[in-house]
């Protein structure tokens, strides 16, 4: 399926996409590391084709939440529902094959490989020809490779990396590496895209470009996006709903404007303890 076909199958986004059934639902999720209760009874619902922000101070458990959703960690309690299916505890590769893609906070590219190869790796489940076909370079294999290369190039163009396709991934500047991670995640043909601090290390111009790209992914490609981000300008401008966690617990959820004024959120961010505030 090309990008264009995908666009048409995404229905009429923006208006038509909202308020459908939740594509992702967390139900009283718990994750405990020894004595640390990293995620405590977190429940949330992400509607289809939403841009959903997940924020909180450092160490609040946002990345842990991502790791539980994508199967890197098994939850110690509660459930993860994706598209109506209980995926809690499934291994990462299976969850990814269900079209849940992610990026990593501490960039995890395949550094020694080229930009294009990085993206193509994520097309493994789209590749149909067998290992023998690859060894003997059959026509079916050549067609598969051509299809993957074409799609990888399209996605690199979407993320503005088209001209670097042949460069070694580890040699890209930081901001480009973050965008490459998104391009690679898109190769999975995700329904749900989890972005872990995509704007970290970007200057304001790059961050602005990123906001445009995130909206493009939702509006034109029909994705649902969950975003962990510390850059509040980005969060406030792209997210429709923001969910705030602190010490592993939900402390607020709502529109960016509402959350910004929430006393619990202010307390968490300005360092006041909740006891002192009450």
């Amino acid at each position: 399926m090309t990008l264009q076909e995908r666009e048409s199958s995404a229905g009429s986004p923006i208006t038509g996409g909202r308020n459908k059934n939740p594509i992702l639902r967390l139900e009283k999720l718990d994750k405990i590391f020894g004595g640390l209760h990293a995620v405590k009874q977190v429940s949330l619902e992400v509607p289809e084709q939403a841009i959903f922000g997940l924020i909180g101070p450092n160490g609040a458990g946002k990345t842990t939440l991502f790791n539980v959703i994508t199967g890197v960690y098994k939850p110690d309690g509660g459930r993860v529902w994706f598209d109506g299916v209980d995926i809690s505890g499934e291994p990462p590769a299976r969850i990814a094959a269900r079209c849940v893609a992610r990026t990593f906070q501490n960039i995890r590219l395949f550094r020694a490989m080229t930009v294009e190869e990085n993206v193509m790796v994520a097309g493994h489940h789209l590749h149909q020809s067998s290992v023998l076909a690859a060894m003997f370079r059959t026509r079916a294999h050549a067609e598969d490779e051509a299809r993957l290369t074409k799609r990888a190039r399209e996605l690199l163009d979407v993320m503005g990396l088209g001209e670097h396709a042949r460069a070694v991934a580890g040699s890209l500047p930081y901001g480009s590496q973050r965008r490459l991670e998104i391009a690679r995640a898109l190769m999975l043909k995700p329904k749900l895209l989890l972005l872990d601090e995509p704007a970290a290390g970007m200057n304001s111009q790059e961050a602005g470009e990123l906001q445009r790209q995130i909206r493009f992914l939702r509006d034109q490609m029909g994705l649902t996006i969950v975003l962990v981000e510390h850059n509040m300008a980005v969060v406030m401008s792209v997210c429709e709903t923001v969910h705030v966690v602190d010490h592993g617990e939900t402390i607020a959820e709502g529109s960016p404007e509402r959350v910004k004024k929430d006393p619990a959120v202010l307390a968490a961010y300005l360092g006041k303890s909740s006891e002192a505030g009450s």
Partner: protein, 337 residues
């Protein structure tokens, strides 16, 4: 069209190999011929091991075990099949060739199955743990052969005839198999599967998050690598008239690792060069007698100091040539300024 062109290439290669074979058997002493054969066998071993240790980044120090499975498998089934095939085709070169290649394929399949058996449970481990487990399995395989009465136990297996296994192995077959295996592994490496294997080496967690079936692919690469070692074993067995358990000790596995590290981990060209290097270097120093092992060790140390990533690094011959040719004009323009 595509098929016709490929067939033409195969026929041309076959004729070339056969021509060289005739030249060698007429013009070169047997000692040199043997080194050339060993170099070919080393190429198969190194390129095979490189698939799992270089491309996929999973260290195996037990590959001598898989070479042993291939050697014993090919020797045993070759001996069993020979009379039947000779009966059907009439004794002669055609029957020998068929028996030999069938035996090699059986050896490769058995070694591949052994790889599957060893790899499936152990490839969930990483790094040092995997290395130790493969080392253990390699030794277990050798000790099994050491005690298998019907395969001659510690004395080794020499087939049915008093002269030992028939000397099927020659330049033509060694290099035909070497070229076939190098081409197949190269094709696999530069395909989606190969990219996924490299991704596992680079970052296994990210590979999993991209829906890569990491365990399945690692086991696949491990079995293919073991199967290549099996072919090398079968060729080796029919070069020396018999198979002995002590030919497949732990140091044989180390030799294979030296080949791919000297050549450059992850580089197929490097593995080829490393395989040849190991076969030739020790022989070139034969005049130095007892000092040659000292010099050999020194040579390895010097190579690692001068080129820590191996002769080729992770690059291929084609990359090196391309870099050279694209550098030439830019150097010229520098002069023009």
């Amino acid at each position: 069209m595509r098929l016709a062109r490929r067939l033409a290439v195969v026929v041309a290669l076959g004729l070339t190999l056969y021509g060289v074979q005739l030249l060698l058997s007429g013009g070169v002493i047997e000692y040199v011929q043997r080194i050339i054969l060993l170099a070919g066998i080393n190429i198969i071993l190194a390129v095979g091991l490189n698939l799992i240790s270089g491309t996929t980044g999973q260290f195996s120090i037990g590959h001598a075990g898989f070479m042993a499975v291939g050697a014993y498998g090919a020797a045993f089934f070759g001996t069993q099949l020979a009379p039947g095939i000779a009966g059907a085709l009439g004794a002669g070169a055609a029957a020998d060739a068929l028996t030999f290649n069938l035996a090699l394929v059986i050896g490769a399949v058995l070694a591949g199955l052994a790889g599957l058996l060893v790899g499936a449970p152990s490839l969930r481990l990483r790094g040092d743990y995997l290395a130790v487990v493969t080392l253990g399995f390699g030794e277990i395989i050798r000790i099994l052969f050491n005690n298998a009465q019907f395969l001659g136990a510690a004395t080794g297996y020499f087939g049915d005839s008093p002269a030992g296994l028939p000397p099927y192995t020659n330049f033509f077959w060694v290099y035909a198999w070497a070229i076939a295996i190098v081409v197949m592994i190269r094709n696999l490496t530069f395909s989606q599967t190969g990219r996924s294997l490299s991704a596992i080496r680079e970052d296994e967690i990210a590979a999993e998050a991209m829906a890569t079936p990491t365990t399945r692919l690692k086991v696949l690469a491990f079995s293919l690598s073991a199967a290549a070692a099996g072919v090398a074993g079968g060729l080796f067995a029919h070069m020396q008239s018999g198979v002995r358990p002590e030919d497949f000790r732990f140091d044989k596995s180390i030799d294979m690792i030296v080949m791919i590290i000297i050549g450059g981990l992850g580089s197929i060209s490097g593995a080829v060069v490393g395989g040849i290097f190991l076969a030739v270097s020790l022989e070139l120093m034969r005049d130095l007698q007892q000092y040659r092992l000292v010099l050999y060790a020194l040579l390895l140390i010097v190579i690692m100091l001068v080129r820590p990533a191996g002769l080729f690094g992770s690059r291929e011959l084609s990359d090196v040539l391309r870099a050279r040719f694209s550098r030439a004009p830019s150097a010229g323009s520098g002069v023009a300024k």
